[in-house]
């Protein structure tokens, strides 16, 4: 984690951080508000991908503001990977894809920035470890494709995390 925009310096910082932990409601879940995510995947992403490809612009950037424990940005990453895969299923590329197929087909570059005001949440998001209970809304095809088992928890596959890498700085 990189700390970028910030708050008072010095010893007050930890106190402020503590206060923020208590003030913020870190309530979130995978695939929260499905109808909205369907709109995101089926209409918005579709339109953006088409629009960008026409301009030969293969970058896509998403910012999840108030990402809490990371379920939202990972959900969006999954939606984007699936949307791209489905897009190229219908509009095949003129060359063979290297095997195993990368989650993000080249030359696309996807950046996802996830931000929150709570450090604890950010750390949880960065770890990408979720309990069975937190994984409840994730169906098994999705678990197979994007998660691996770590003890009694599920861990976001490194491919998903790195495929949505970021070169972004402010």
């Amino acid at each position: 984690m990189r700390i970028t925009a910030c708050s008072p310096a010095g010893k007050d910082r930890s106190e402020l951080a503590l206060l923020l932990e208590n003030l913020t409601v870190n309530e979130t879940s995978f695939f929260r508000n499905r109808p909205q995510l369907d709109l995101l995947q089926k209409s918005v992403l579709e339109e953006i991908l088409r629009r960008k490809q026409e301009r030969r612009d293969y970058t896509l950037r998403v910012w999840s503001a108030g990402c809490s424990a990371g379920q939202e940005p990972y959900t969006v990453a999954i939606l984007i990977c699936d949307a791209l895969a489905y897009y190229y299923l219908r509009n095949p590329l003129p060359f063979e894809m290297p095997s195993p197929k990368p989650l993000i087909p080249p030359p696309w570059k996807v950046e996802i920035v996830a931000s929150d005001i709570s450090y604890t949440s950010l750390r949880t998001g960065q770890e990408g470890l979720y309990t069975e209970q937190q994984m409840e809304p994730v169906d098994y095809t999705c678990r197979l494709r994007y998660f691996e088992k770590a003890g009694d928890k599920y861990k976001v596959k490194p491919q998903l995390r790195s495929s949505c890498s970021s070169t972004f700085t402010i």
Partner: protein
């Protein structure tokens, strides 16, 4: 994927995004701060980029620089490139109405659930409070959208939704709530189709019956449901 600390109140925010999700965050800010934040989001988006806000949030009244996209109960806002002429009121009304139908359907669902709960546990005060809240919200929201018949009906119904009446009329009361949910549903469907709302005589009759039910009927109801005689509000009800 990159996780970063950002305070949304500062100016140092990630730029050139195609999509921004900021769901259930704005509710913690006051209106002035919400307006500033939406303006920042506009600047942080690429042209024609999209902003997603929470289920209970909306940019209505906060910004004219976004266009609402509504599809199968999902809502998003697309960055508008201007010029920002103030849209005609009927257009903005359309946006408000779309939001209204979405929240009204949820209210109806909660009314139906409450009705079933009341059948199982007549006169549960917590459930009655929930029903009153739902009907009250429906009254205000429908009036704001210009659906006056619906609003008046909700107003009329509100008067009959007292714990006293519920105590005295157990099963009738649950029936009233369920009939109300059905009637409101029919009216909403009509409004959504821009048709004249149907007359809901059955509901009117039920409300009237509950409001001016003679004392004798109340006693009978009490006996039928084996209610104790010393109910709270028993005296206030005889007026």
């Amino acid at each position: 994927m990159q996780f970063d600390f950002h305070n949304l109140k500062t100016e140092f925010l990630p730029r050139r995004n195609d999509i921004i999700l900021c769901r259930n965050v704005m509710i913690y800010f006051d209106e002035a701060e919400q307006k500033r934040l939406v303006e920042k989001f506009w600047h942080c988006l690429n042209p024609a980029g999209y902003l997603f806000v929470g289920h209970a949030e909306s940019l209505f009244g906060l910004s004219q620089k976004f266009r609402m996209v509504h599809e199968n109960n999902g809502t998003a806002y697309q960055r508008n490139e201007g010029p920002y002429v103030s849209r005609p009121p009927e257009d903005r009304g359309g946006e408000l109405r779309a939001l209204f139908f979405e929240s009204a359907n949820e209210l109806l669902q909660s009314l139906n659930e409450a009705g079933l709960e009341l059948e199982a546990r007549p006169a549960d005060e917590e459930v009655i409070r929930r029903v009153r809240r739902a009907v009250h919200t429906l009254k205000g929201d429908s009036a704001a959208c210009g659906f006056h018949k619906l609003s008046e009906l909700a107003h009329e119904l509100e008067d009959a939704l007292t714990p006293q009446i519920a105590h005295a009329r157990g099963a009738d009361f649950a029936e009233l709530v369920l009939t109300a949910a059905d009637s409101f549903g029919a009216m909403l469907t009509a409004y959504q189709r821009k048709a004249e709302p149907p007359a809901v005589e059955a509901l009117h009759a039920m409300i009237r019956k509950l409001l001016d039910g003679p004392a004798s009927r109340r006693v009978r109801a009490r006996r039928r449901f084996n209610c104790p005689r010393n109910l709270p509000g028993r005296n206030t009800n005889s007026s």
